[in-house]
């Protein structure tokens, strides 16, 4: 049963993260020699520069261990980022197993077929655990495969132990989302709270890593305990206690979800507001938001959208508030100060904020695009699009409304981020140029629209596979944006990455090329969506 579930209910994630993980680690491994050179001296110099620059990202990504080696470089450049993406994936699966199965009628079918709720939850968790284990192992297999080709020792045992540590931490993240998903009344709210909790745990770990007096807050975060294993790097360590602790925590959290699942009604959360008894309502609502499909979409996702908006505002404010202390600590090191004076084209604080906040905001918006496409995909498969088309509206209108819905929602998130940064910056001692800050924030919108355009195109034609495709595209784009400068690829290759196109607008010169390019990507996706939607068969069956 577990194997059947793993394959039939997770095969897209299994293939996506299995294949993506392998090739991600493979390509980062292949890029090592290009970036670090082939001599011991050049690799040592490369490692020193990575270590210096890495301190500014310590909020998100742990400091590297022996980045002058293939394993250390890969652990820092590939696995640290992959863990964040896989954690979101694990969280989405936690909510999907906790609540999504019920919306699809699967839970009722299994329970009616004589499967107990306890067995159902444990079997579903074991099936996802199996898929997660394969994905974690795949994400280190590529480096083992490429190591001989770049004349490095394949640190097989260290890589596998690192994968096991990731597995335990990600399973704990899955379990957190699974547990939380038992509480809210709606699946959408459960998704917002489940993913929100994981983002909070990531932030707590960031605070613990950068603010010494608050290092204790990291103990509740699985990211903190995963960081304690660095065995992929030569000389790194495997923390058996931390890994076992994460595994035990995961099991306990899954076990904790069982009594909540037993207590609540299928299709309803444990914390349901019953409301007061009222007389039967016979008339339709007068809510103006329901008049148009795009505003109806915003109304329907209002709780989740509010979580995104408020989280972005708080995150922006938090990042700004720690930027000066992090920067001062970094700049106390003359070598790092020299790197920044040399590399940054604008004020140093702005340069660090650009990396710290705007780099993260790009990932947030790409993540929002994936979540939004996931919502449309579910609606399509449940028959909502068919029902929408039973009204006198065209397929073109459906695509336009989706674009408007995504455009409005992403604009709200961008504005929230801008307000969070703009309101906190003066009090945090950062003397930011108002025009540059506005431009850097405003450019986030066409960046989001580029992902949204592609997402609309994918979901218009292939709703079942749109989510893994868009997620894989985001990963590839991120890797390309990251590797292109290292590998000294031509500009046109680097510009294929939307992350690279965004550039460093907080400190860089004004250029309309990125705006035009990202707008072009959006229009291309939108145009493709119009054509693809017109040609496809719409059916919930």
């Amino acid at each position: 049963m577990i194997g059947w579930m793993a394959w039939h209910l997770h095969r897209r994630g299994l293939i996506g993260f299995g294949v993506g993980g392998f090739f991600g680690s493979f390509f980062y491994g292949a890029a090592f020699q290009q970036a670090a050179g082939t001599t011991a001296q050049s690799q040592a110099a490369f490692g020193r520069s990575i270590s210096l620059v890495a301190k500014q990202f310590a909020f998100l990504i742990p400091l590297p261990v022996h980045p002058e080696t293939l394993g250390g470089y890969e652990q820092y450049k590939w696995l640290a980022g992959a863990i964040i993406i896989m954690m979101i994936w694990a969280g989405l699966n936690g909510v999907a197993i906790g609540r999504g199965d019920e919306d699809r009628g699967l839970s009722e079918q299994w329970i009616a077929g004589g499967v107990s709720r306890t067995r159902l939850l444990l079997a579903r968790s074991a099936a996802f655990g199996l898929v997660l284990l394969v994905a974690c192992l795949s994400s280190v297999l590529g480096i083992i495969a490429i190591a001989p080709a770049v004349h490095q020792d394949p640190n097989v045992m260290g890589e596998i132990l690192k994968a096991l540590s990731m597995f335990a931490g990600l399973l704990a993240g899955y379990a957190v989302a699974l547990l939380i998903s038992q509480l809210p009344a709606e699946r959408q709210t459960a998704t917002a709270f489940g993913i929100g909790a994981l983002v909070l745990l990531l932030i707590l770990n960031g605070i613990a890593d950068t603010v010494q007096s608050a290092s204790w807050v990291g103990v509740v975060s699985p990211f903190h305990w995963m960081e304690r294993t660095s065995s992929a790097a030569p000389g790194g360590s495997f923390d058996l206690g931390a890994t076992l602790g994460l595994a035990v925590a995961a099991v306990l959290l899954i076990a904790g979800a069982v009594p909540l699942f037993l207590r609540r009604d299928i299709g309803n959360g444990l914390l349901t507001w019953r409301g007061r008894a009222h007389g039967a309502v016979r008339s339709a609502s007068n809510n103006m938001m329901l008049r148009l499909p795009f505003s109806e979409g915003l109304w329907e996702q209002r709780v989740g959208l509010m979580v995104w908006v408020v989280s972005t505002l708080l995150l922006g404010a938090l990042m700004v508030s720690v930027t000066k202390s992090v920067s001062d600590a970094l700049l106390a090191d003359p070598a790092i100060a020299a790197v920044f004076q040399h590399a940054a084209s604008g004020p140093v604080y702005a340069a660090i904020l650009g990396l710290l906040w705007f780099g993260f905001a790009l990932l947030l918006l790409a993540g929002y695009a994936v979540v939004q496409v996931s919502r449309w995909s579910a609606q399509d498969q449940e028959g909502r699009v068919e029902m929408l088309l039973s009204a006198p509206i065209s397929r073109t209108r459906v695509v336009i409304d989706r674009a408007l819905e995504f455009g409005s929602a992403s604009l709200l998130i961008v504005i929230a981020g801008y307000l969070g940064v703009a309101a906190t910056a003066p009090g945090s001692g950062l003397n930011l140029d108002a025009g540059h800050l506005f431009r850097a924030s405003a450019l986030l919108w066409p960046f989001a629209l580029a992902f949204g355009g592609l997402g609309v195109a994918l979901v218009s034609r292939w709703p079942r596979i749109a989510v893994p495709f868009l997620a894989a595209f985001a990963v590839v784009e991120y890797i390309l944006g990251d590797l292109a400068p290292l590998l000294k690829m031509p500009d046109w290759v680097a510009n294929l990455s939307v992350f690279h196109l965004y550039g460093s607008p907080l400190t860089g010169a004004t250029s309309w090329t990125p705006v035009a390019s990202m707008t072009f990507v959006f229009l291309l996706g939108f145009g493709a969506a119009l054509v693809l939607m017109r040609r496809r068969d719409v059916s919930s069956a």
Binding site: E186, V281, G383, L388, V538
Partner: protein
């Protein structure tokens, strides 16, 4: 009278013999047409083609002389559609769903919404996920009827409704029909169609096998015959007779269905001691079942 629904060689081929093939059908304006067939016969495929949700492999479909694909928006302005199952609307309340679809259609009379919800005893204050199966069907009825459409396309509309609400639903359909609305009602249950339709089409394995008025189907000369012998029953006397099917025996009796002339049966009984013999016209349900069942060798074809 002009055709409200017309299909010509309408085909949707999913491969492997699945789909809908060469459907030629006309439903007159103001007519109530029942579309009968077992599960998977192609009823919902036909409806999806009429609604422009899916594209035909070949052939054409039109509703009120409007092409179902090219003039899809205009078609749906005139059509009320009730799917076999409503999609998930999750946390939206009934009144929000009604408002949303009412706004998309435009010109929906609030009094009409009130009237239908009152008659069906539907509480629009509840969230969709709180609705029972029956209440979801009632909401589907509301969405299909609230704008007084010229054509109603209903996919198994009364399943899941309790008898009282079924009656109320059929009253709504009769009223719509009296107002000149064309009804296209798909079902696999004859009693549902019998309530409102005067003409039916029977579809099996993606092909229309019969179109007839209900009373015509009654007239098909398939009879159930019961022969009571004085001694042991002799079913073997009838098994190979032309037009005789479903031969069964119990105690002193042999029963079978017979088409056409009774002469071969009388010949077969000659010289045997028969105590009683009776012939009954089969129920309408049995007539339909004969169309539903696969003919010998057809399943392999």
């Amino acid at each position: 009278m002009t055709a409200a629904i017309r299909t010509q060689s309408l085909t949707k081929d999913y491969g492997g013999g699945r789909g809908l093939f060469d459907l030629d059908l006309e439903v007159a304006e103001g007519e109530a047409f029942g579309y009968l067939g077992p599960n998977g016969a192609g009823k919902s495929t036909t409806i999806r083609l009429l609604m422009g949700f899916i594209h035909a492999t070949r052939g054409s479909a039109s509703v009120l002389d409007l092409d179902a694909v090219r003039q899809s928006v205009e078609v749906k302005r005139l059509v009320g559609y009730m799917p076999g199952e409503l999609p998930q609307f999750g946390g939206l309340r009934g009144r929000e769903i009604a408002a949303h679809f009412g706004a998309l259609r435009g010109g929906v009379d609030q009094a009409r919404v009130n009237e239908i919800t009152e008659r069906l005893d539907l509480d629009l204050g509840l969230k969709f996920r709180q609705y029972s199966t029956g209440n979801k069907r009632k909401l589907g009825i509301l969405l299909a009827f609230m704008h007084r459409p010229k054509v109603l396309i209903l996919d198994e509309p009364s399943s899941g409704l309790d008898p009282l609400n079924q009656q109320e639903f059929f009253k709504l359909v009769h009223e719509a029909k009296a107002a000149g609305t064309t009804i296209f009602l798909s079902s696999h249950v004859l009693s549902e169609v019998e309530q409102v339709c005067e003409r039916v089409g029977i579809i099996r394995r993606g092909r229309l096998v019969k179109v007839a008025r209900l009373e015509e189907l009654h007239e098909i000369r398939v009879r159930r015959v019961e022969v009571e012998f004085a001694g042991q029953p002799m079913p073997e006397l009838f098994r190979h007779l032309l037009g005789v099917e479903n031969v069964e025996s119990s105690q002193h009796r042999v029963t079978f269905t017979a088409r056409g002339s009774f002469e071969p049966i009388a010949d077969a009984l000659a010289g045997h001691h028969v105590v009683n013999m009776a012939s009954h016209e089969p129920s309408l349900e049995e007539v339909f079942l004969t169309y539903y069942e696969d003919q010998p060798g057809e399943a392999e074809a």
